[in-house]
């Protein structure tokens, strides 16, 4: 029987090794269950195709002139929708009880969450990459060039990672992964639709313009348009970074508190 080994137990892993192990697990989950990711990416992909070819002519004179306006918006939409998985994944772990095993192991306490963040980054990059490639296939040539695209995706990652704390808190508050998904959708759809993703606000009624004006998604989209379009808007970028900091400042500690209580 080789199962019982005598001798000293290995030293517990350091914080970085433990975080990488959890990140590795997150990547394995993307590989084994890719449909989870593609279910939500399908929406922005369909919207990109539909709005460009169906409404692009009416909205901007031609599909080709509309696409540079739309694509930064659907890029934001794709990554924000994917960010919900931070909450769904955590809720599943807690519900299935696997967090119990993690907590019985001698690992750095925040490692499960830090590792999940690494997995989230991979997911966001896949989502952003897919929408960008779709845009290029449809004829979009970002004036900001590769540097602008990278900067745009970088800013989007920062915002999405901050927003993911809100999802993890929600994931710990709600009972089932389905509840997290539907609540997340109910929050995200108004935020992404009632924004400047598809059309400029001046055509909207005043009350809607007011909402679009304070909607953080609008500011994020404007910042992305600047970066991808080769005319970065420092004010908008600062606004996005500030909103990201505020989200993280509220929801990261809340997640930590709820995690120690429930997991």
């Amino acid at each position: 029987m080789t199962v019982i080994v005598a001798g000293p137990r290995p030293e517990p892993p350091g914080p970085w090794t433990a975080t990488l192990a959890f990140g590795y697990r997150a990547l394995l989950k993307i590989r084994h269950v890719p449909e989870q990711l593609f279910d939500v990416i399908a929406i922005p992909v369909v919207f990109t195709l539909m709005f460009t070819y169906l409404f692009g002519g009416a909205l901007a004179g031609s599909p080709g002139r509309y696409l540079p306006f739309l694509l930064p918006g659907t890029l934001v939409m794709a990554v924000l929708l994917v960010s919900m998985y931070a909450g769904i994944g955590l809720n599943t772990d807690v519900g299935k009880g696997i967090t119990g095993r993690f907590r019985s192991l001698p690992v750095w306490r925040p490692a499960p969450v830090a590792g999940a963040v690494l997995g989230d980054v991979a997911r966001y990059l896949i989502a952003a990459g897919l929408v960008t490639v779709l845009g290029v296939i449809m004829g979009y040539r970002p004036p900001g060039g590769p540097a602008g695209v990278l900067a745009g995706i970088g800013l989007l990652l920062v915002f999405a990672l901050s927003l993911s704390w809100a999802w993890t808190a929600l994931g710990l508050l709600l009972r089932t992964p389905q509840a997290v998904m539907s609540t997340g959708t109910v929050v995200l759809f108004p935020l992404t639709l009632a924004s400047n993703v598809f059309v400029q606000p001046p055509t909207m009624p005043g009350w809607l313009q007011a909402f679009v004006g304070v909607n953080p998604v609008s500011h994020l989209v404007t910042a992305e348009r600047g970066l991808l379009g080769g005319h970065p808007a420092p004010g908008q970028i600062a606004w996005v970074l500030l909103a990201a900091a505020a989200l993280a400042a509220v929801f990261a500690p809340l997640t930590g508190y709820l995690y120690t209580r429930r997991a």
Binding site: M1, V3, I4, V5, R9, L20, A21, G100, S104
Partner: protein, 252 residues
Amino acid sequence: MYEKRYPIAVEAEGLRKRFGATEAVRGLTLTVAAGSIYGLLGPNGAGKTTTVRILATLLRPDGGRAAVLGHDVVREAAAVRRRIALAGQAATVDEDLTGRENLVFLGRLSGLSRGGARARAADVLEAFDLAGAAGKQVKTYSGGMRRRLDLAASFLVPAELYFLDEPTTGLDPAARAQVWQIVRAAAESGATVLLTTQYLEEADRLADRVAVIDHGTVVAEGTPAALKADTGRGTLDEVFLALTQPTQGSAA
């Protein structure tokens, strides 16, 4: 081989834990000698799993105190975690990953190197008869296979104390005999095993001592032979029924 630094592996005194309106553990006191196999017996809902979760640092007790291998489970939780392993209802594995991926991942978290984790994963998969299913996602496993994988995960690195929560529930007789053999081997290597079970035959054949738990407290404690002699019953089954029948109340 472990030198037995602590003659007492588990020392719990007056443990209490309440979930909402139900008091799962009500003043439970328990002493487990190091190097022994100790069985916690009790009907469903008796508080076995809650007790194990408290001792394995997953739950904070509402009252009382407990020390595992000389370390307080609340104040020195990290020291406890470095010395224990946990399997069963209180722990689980990732259903999306394959059996091997689960074990390599948990091996890394237990401090094994990448190569070491892979080698140990192969060892324990073999020992728990899962080598053939190692590359399949756990969601395709049967209940018995999941239970074995979960047990396998707790034997990746040596522990001084193994908590096995209903380790053989859902296993066929051959797999059960295999688990018993592994539990005995663990005790022979000097480790302590605290297991919960609903199978009295298992406790009788495996455990050096048992505690019968009902309504969150210990109603009888001793060697299986002593319990049978004390109560004048021929089998542990009869002892158990006599002690935990709702009509007879607590007989301790």
